[in-house]
Amino acid sequence: MTSIGLAEASNFAVYATMVTLTFAMIAFAMSFSATRVAAPEGLPVAVPVGVPVGVPVGVGATESLPERGAVGLAPGLRAANIGMALTWLSFVLLLIGVTFRGLWAGRVPWGNMYEFSISSALGILGVFLIWSLTRDLRWLGLFVVIPTLLTLGLAVTVLYTEAAQLVPALKSYWLIIHVSAAIICAGAFTVAGATAGLSIARSRAEIKGTAETGWTKNLPDAERLRILTYRIIAFSFPLWTFAVIAGAIWAENAWGRYWGWDPKETWAFITWVVYAGYLHARSTAGWRGDRASWIAILGLVAFLINYFGVNIFVNSLHSYSGV
C-alpha cells in the first residue's frame, strides 16, 4: 500500500471504530436498562458464567447479570451480547488503525498525543476484553465504551496530527517499553476507575435500599465491585511501577539524570503514590469501602492530569504532544 493509502486506511479504521463503538454503547445501554426479574426462590442469586462447567469456583467467579431462570433478562442479555460482539469488532478495527498508523510513520505509533490517545483507547478496550474472557463483564461494557469513545473523539477532533518522524529524544527502545506499559496502564486504570465509580454508586443504593430497583440494579453488589477494582489495580500497579522505572532509565539515557522532577515525572510519581495509597487503604480498617474506591478514582484523575494537563498546558521536557 502506498503511504497515503496507509494514512487513509488508518484514519478510516479509527472512524469506523467510533461508529461500531457507538452502536456497542447503544446496545449496552439498552441491556443495562432492561428490567431485572427477581431470581426465583431457591435459585442462587448469582450464577457463575464464563467459567467452564465442572471447575469449582470460589466467591471470585460469581457475577451478577447472568441468565436468570428461563426468561429473566433475555432481551437485555441479547443486547449485551451484541454489545460485546461490537466491542470486539471495534477492538480489531482500532488495532488495524493503530497498526497502519505505525506502518505509515515507519515507527511505533506513539509519537504524539493523537497516537497516544488512539493507542490508549485500544488499551482500554484490550484490558476490558481480555479480562472479559475470564468472567462475565457484560454489565461493565457501557462504562468502558463511553470513556473509550470520549478518548477517540478527543483524538480525532482536538489532537489530530499528521504522522511525522520522532524527534531524536524519542528514538529509544526504552520508549517502546515505557510507553507500551503506560498504555496498558491507561486501559487498566480507566477500567478500574469505572468499577470504582460503580461500586460507590451501588454501595449508596445498597445503603438507601434501592439496590434492586434503582439504576444500579443490574450491577454486581458493591463488595464484589470493590474486589474487581482491587484486582485490576493489583495488576496495573506493578506495571505502572515498571513504566515509571523504564521512563527513568530512558531519561537517564537522554538527559543524564534518571529523575528530575519534570512535571511529567512529578505527576507519574503522584499517580504512583495515590495508587499505593489505594492498596494501603484496602488493608486499613475503616478505609476499605467507598473511601478506597474514591482513592482509585483519584488515581485515575492524577493519571489523566499527567496525560492531558501536562502534555498540553505545562512546558515540560516531555512536551512532544504535537498540538
Binding site: A164, P168, N253, A254, W255, V273, A285
Partner: protein, 517 residues
C-alpha cells in the same frame, strides 16, 4: 486483605485510648505513628506536596522563568520564594513529609521482618476444632486406615511444596499445611527496597556531580571545573573528583523536518568527538547522540543542546582587528532565533554589541525579526552596538551572554547578512558578519547511586509481584475412625488473603485422597 468472605484479615485494632504512663504513652505514640493509617495519610501528604513543583517554575530546571515569575508577582513571588516554592523538591517541608514517611516505614517494616522470620520457622498452626465451619470444606469416608490417609495427604502436600505439620498423638489425628509465605517476604522486600532507593538517591545527591558546557565545532574541552559553564556537585564531591579526560568536537550534524506538518522538528543530532580518556591515552573517535551518551571513567557525557556560532570580525577606530572569532549565540525558540553578545574590551573605544541571529530570517510588524526555520537557509544578524565602559576590569564576574548597557551609549542598530560590513557611527570601527559554525552543549554527569537505585527498583517490583499475587493459605486434613471401621476424612482450607485458587486446591486434595482407596 479481607477480600472475600471468611478470610482472615490483617486488620489492626482501631485506635485505643493512650495509656497514662509516660513510657506507655511514648510506645502508644510510636504505634500510632507506624500504623497503616499514618502511612496512608503520609502517602497522601506526599502526593499533595509534590503538586506545587509541577505548576510553579523550579530553580533547578528553569531559573530564568523563576526570576520572571517573581518579578511579575511582587507580593506573592518573594513570599513563595522564601517558603521554598520555587525549589519544592529541596524544600524542608517536602523533606519533612518523605522523611516522616520513611521513618514510619522503618518502624513498621523492621519489626515485621523479625516476626516473619520467626513465622517462617514455625510449623503451621494446628487444625481448628470444627473444620466444617471453614468456607472450603469436604467430608467423605475412606476404606484406608487413618495413618494411611494422613500419609498420602502428607505426600501429596509435601510434593506440592506445602509446609506440613503432623499432629502429635495426643493432639488428635490431623495434618496441617500452609503455603504462600513468600507473600509477606515480597511485601517486606518491596518496602525495604523503597528504603534502598531513597538511600541510593541520597548517595547520588551527596557524591555525584553534573556540569554543562558548550563546545564549538573544532574546539576542545578538558574536564576541569573552570571549563564548565555551569557545574554543581553534592556535599561530598569536589573539583578534585573530576576524571581528567578531554575531547574535541570535530563535527556536529543536525537535520530538521522540512515537511509542512512538522516543519522544523529535529530529526537528527550527532556529535563526533575525538576523545582522550586520560592524559597520555590514545585519541579515539566517539559519536554522541541523544539517547546514546558516552561513558568515561564512571561519568557520562550527554548531548543536550546545540546552536549557531556566527563569525564576527571587529575593527576599532584605529583600524586594528580587535576580534575575529566564532561567537556562541543561544537559541531562544525551536527555530533557533538566537541571542548573543560580543564584547570587545580591547577596542578603542570599548565596544559592546547585542545581537539576534536568525538562521532563516523573517520580519513581522508585531514580532520584529525572528527565525522561521532552524536551518541556516537565509541567515542574518540584527545588531545593536554600544560604546562606553564594558565594566570588564571591575573584577565583578560577568556573564558572556549578557551586556550591561547601563552607563553605555548606543551607537546604532543594523541588520547584516553574511559578508556585509557595518561602519559604526563616529568612526568607532567596523563589524563584519562572516560564515557560521555550530556548537553543541553537553551535560557531563556522575551519579554513583544510579546502579544501586536501579537494583533496588528491580527488587521493589519483584517484591511487589510476590506481595500482590502470592496467596497465603492453609489446609487441614483430619481423620477419625467411624463405628463401622471406615475412616472419616475431613479436608478444609482457609485463605489468609484472597481465596484465589484455594477451592480448587482443596477439591484436588480431597479427590486425590478419595482416589487412593
Amino acid at each position: 486483605m479481607a477480600d472475600s468472605t471468611g478470610t482472615l484479615t490483617t486488620t489492626e485494632p482501631s485506635p485505643s485510648l493512650p495509656p497514662l504512663s509516660s513510657t506507655g504513652f511514648a510506645r502508644w505514640m510510636w504505634r500510632q505513628f507506624t500504623s497503616m493509617r499514618t502511612a496512608l495519610i503520609l502517602l497522601f501528604l506526599l502526593a499533595f506536596v509534590s503538586i506545587p513543583g509541577s505548576i510553579l517554575p523550579q530553580r533547578g530546571t528553569n531559573p530564568i522563568l523563576v526570576e520572571q515569575w517573581i518579578a511579575d508577582a511582587p507580593t506573592w513571588g518573594p513570599l513563595l520564594d522564601t517558603w521554598g516554592f520555587f525549589d519544592v523538591y529541596a524544600a524542608p517541608w517536602f523533606a519533612a513529609v518523605y522523611l516522616l514517611l520513611f521513618i514510619s516505614l522503618i518502624g513498621c517494616v523492621v519489626p515485621r521482618v523479625g516476626v516473619h522470620w520467626r513465622t517462617m520457622r514455625m510449623p503451621p498452626p494446628p487444625a481448628p476444632r470444627h473444620l466444617g465451619r471453614l468456607p472450603e470444606h469436604q467430608k467423605f469416608t475412606s476404606q484406608q486406615s487413618e495413618s494411611a490417609v494422613l500419609e498420602s495427604a502428607r505426600d501429596y502436600l509435601a510434593s506440592r511444596r506445602w509446609r506440613v505439620r503432623i499432629s502429635d498423638p495426643d493432639e488428635g489425628a490431623w495434618i496441617a499445611a500452609e503455603k504462600g509465605y513468600l507473600r509477606e517476604t515480597g511485601n517486606l522486600v518491596f518496602h525495604l527496597a523503597l528504603i534502598g532507593i531513597l538511600i541510593a538517591v541520597a548517595v547520588g545527591g551527596l557524591f555525584g556531580w553534573r556540569g554543562n558546557v558548550i563546545v564549538k565545532e573544532g574546539s576542545g574541552f578538558s574536564n576541569t571545573l573552570t571549563q564548565y559553564d555551569a557545574w554543581g556537585g553534592g556535599r561530598f564531591s569536589g573539583p578534585e573528583d573530576l576524571p581528567p579526560f578531554a575531547f574535541t568536537l570535530q563535527d556536529f550534524r543536525v537535520e530538521f523536518d522540512r515537511t509542512e506538518a512538522q516543519l522544523g522538528s529535529p530529526r537528527l543530532f550527532e556529535a563526533d568527538i575525538e576523545l582522550q580518556r586520560e592524559p597520555g591515552a590514545p585519541l579515539v573517535n566517539e559519536r554522541i547522540e541523544v539517547n546514546y551518551p558516552v561513558s568515561i571513567a564512571g561519568a557520562k557525557v550527554f548531548l543536550v543542546g546545540h546552536g549557531y556560532a556566527p563569525q564576527f570580525t571587529v575593527t576599532d577606530s584605529q583600524g586594528r582587528v580587535v576580534l575575529d572569532d566564532w561567537v556562541v549565540f543561544l537559541p531562544q525558540d525551536g527555530n533557533l532565533t538566537s541571542t548573543g553578545v560580543i564584547k570587545v574590551p580591547d577596542a578603542v573605544p570599548e565596544v559592546g554589541i547585542q545581537g539576534l541571529y536568525l538562521p532563516t530570517t523573517a520580519l513581522d510588524e508585531v514580532r520584529g525579526p525572528f527565525s522561521i526555520f532552524p536551518e541556516a537557509d537565509d541567515p542574518s544578524v540584527f545588531l545593536s552596538a554600544w560604546t562606553g565602559d564594558l565594566g570588564m576590569d571591575s573584577g565583578n564576574p560577568q556573564s558572556i551572554y549578557t551586556l550591561e548597557t547601563e552607563g553605555m551609549e548606543q551607537l546604532g542598530l543594523r541588520a547584516l547578512i553574511p559578508g556585509q560590513t557595518w561602519e559604526l557611527p563616529d568612526g568607532a570601527g567596523t563589524i563584519t558578519l562572516g560564515n557560521y559554525i555550530r556548537w553543541a552543549s553537553f551535560q557531563i554527569a556522575f551519579d554513583p547511586g544510579k546502579e544501586a537505585a536501579l537494583a533496588a527498583s528491580v527488587l521493589a517490583i519483584l517484591g511487589l509481584l510476590g506481595s500482590l499475587f502470592i496467596r497465603r493459605r492453609r489446609v487441614w486434613v483430619r481423620v477419625h475412625t467411624a463405628d463401622d471401621g471406615t475412616t472419616l476424612v475431613e479436608v478444609a482450607g482457609l485463605a489468609r488473603t484472597e481465596a484465589g485458587e484455594l477451592p480448587v486446591e482443596v477439591a484436588d486434595l480431597a479427590a486425590d485422597l478419595k482416589g487412593k482407596q
